[in-house]
């Protein structure tokens, strides 16, 4: 499995992670056939402390899905940041994951974006499978 990021996608995710640091950012990924062509930043509405959590509410999800139609693209997944933590999915990420979506995680340390990884839920929900990220 691989996910390809078109020009500008990588930068926009990193930029969003820096803007919301020390809190987590989140947003939607759009594209087609394993190629992300656009992102859309979403409000982090968690009430559990945005430093360690993100939440996209149902109404925001609905809009995110509707936007896919307007863009003539598919909703491919979501990205979020891990402030001062590695770009690896947590148990919480796993517990809340949806199948077939790509989950991009960017690690932001002391306000500086570092690693970026992408993950997909295994069909039996037991773990994530890391997918290769390609650029350009």
């Amino acid at each position: 499995m691989a996910l390809h990021l078109e020009d500008g996608v990588d930068e926009s995710i990193r930029k969003h992670g820096v803007e919301t640091y020390p809190n987590e950012c989140c947003g939607a990924l759009y594209g087609r056939d394993g190629v992300v062509s656009a992102t859309f930043a979403l409000p982090n509405t968690t009430e559990e402390g945005p430093r360690r959590r993100f939440l996209v509410r149902p109404q925001d999800y609905r809009e995110a899905e509707a936007r896919a139609g307007a863009l003539g693209a598919e909703l491919l997944g979501f990205y979020h940041s891990h402030p001062d933590h590695p770009a690896r999915p947590s148990q919480y990420d796993l517990d809340h994951a949806w199948p077939f979506f790509s989950y991009i995680i960017v690690s932001v340390r002391a306000g500086v974006p570092e690693d970026m990884t992408s993950w997909r839920l295994l069909e039996d929900r037991s773990a994530f499978d890391q997918e290769d990220l390609t650029h350009g």
Binding site: R52, P58, S90, P99
Partner: protein, 484 residues
Amino acid sequence: MANKIHIPTPLRPFTDKQDAVEVNGATVGELLTDLTTRHSGLRKHLYTDDGRLRNFVNVYLNDEDIRYLQREQTPVKAGDTLSIVPSVAGGAPTAVDTAPALSAEEIKRYSRHLILPEIGMEGQRKLKASSVLCIGAGGLGSPAAMYLAAAGIGRIGIVDFDVVDFSNLQRQLLHGTPDVGRSKLASAKDKINALNPHVQVDTYEVALSSENALDLFAPYDVILDGTDNFPTRYLVNDACVLSGKPNAYGSIFRFEGQASVFATKGGPCYRCLYPEPPPPGLVPSCAEGGVLGVLPGIIGVIQATEAMKVILGIGEPLVGRFLIYDALNMKFRELRLRRDPECPVCGDNPTVTKLIDYEQFCGMRPEPAVAPIAGGGGTDWEITVQELKKKLDAGETPFILDVREPNEYQINRIAGSVLIPLGELPRRYQELPKDREIVSQCKMGGRSAKAMDFLKSVGFTNVKNLKGGILEWVDKIDPSQPKY
């Protein structure tokens, strides 16, 4: 009768790419069952292993979340449309993710928590991963620490430097009769370990101070203020605000208790309510004024409740609310509190940005700088019990004014003393002789100092305060009398 279910993007691979599916049933639950029967791959993504809808799966009947209807029992009629809408959630690892799982013994121990949907396994692991620092192992700290330990808080710190005294046993349930004379920390640790050996108990045998408070608070999630004096109360408040730790606050006096949660993000702090401490001596301590033994049981357990709610993120914590409990009338009242933008600690432009000298802030009398005089260490406004005894033995007749309450006077007294409670002094001071030396005395020296100040303000010049009060007198001069 067929109804339509809208399928979100990530589930469409299970429905042959269709974004809507026709299903049959009379209730939301039946429609979902029909859906997962037709497309069985959906089941494990919509339902947990024990058959409940996953909490990040939202189901809407037309435009209404079924949680606000009758959930899966909600009836459907022809033309109704169902939508499955994801909540997308995630986040960095937290202490809970790395907390060890619960052992079989712990699962049994906490089973009454685990079956509460608001706590469950995740909440219990959160409690286990959490830590609370109790300031004081006395009246409030006792019930709070015991219930927090029983509830499965993983780590409980206790700051205290006192020794168990008989007068503690009427309310401080961490300590028993065989513990009298032991350090409160040792006795607290034994009690908590016996209650729940899974709890890590950290003990700090120090007086909380501006020098050590921030370091002591750092490893803990919530601070529980069980202090009995104003300097420490302001110190705890300011240290909580500066370190961003919630303060589960409580205080007790006679038959009345107070509780609140201070220093949460955006919430008020103790200084928003009381910017300045009361003048020293105006508010007597429990040792001076007494306290109903069961009262700290109520207030300390309220503090423990709030600490747990803050940790679990459930319910409505006592933030912005000041709870006042009146045991005699059995009434709870609530005052609304707001963060004061002008607050010197948590306001928009704070002037207190590091911990200060709280004894001085609360106007406590500084230690006299003069060298102690031979025979006892008195000053010109103070007299020691040894000096008083010497005067009496030498045949002098100072007027000994006891400003305690009549019920205290019944327990012990200095022979020849005259009782005028502090509260009655303003209308009875004419009863005092102007031509004799007056020695003002109470239980420990606080109220009598106030009485002395008052007498000086109305023209008495020859007044001294008995240092250490009747307790010192019993200790050093007359051990035959009881103490309280």
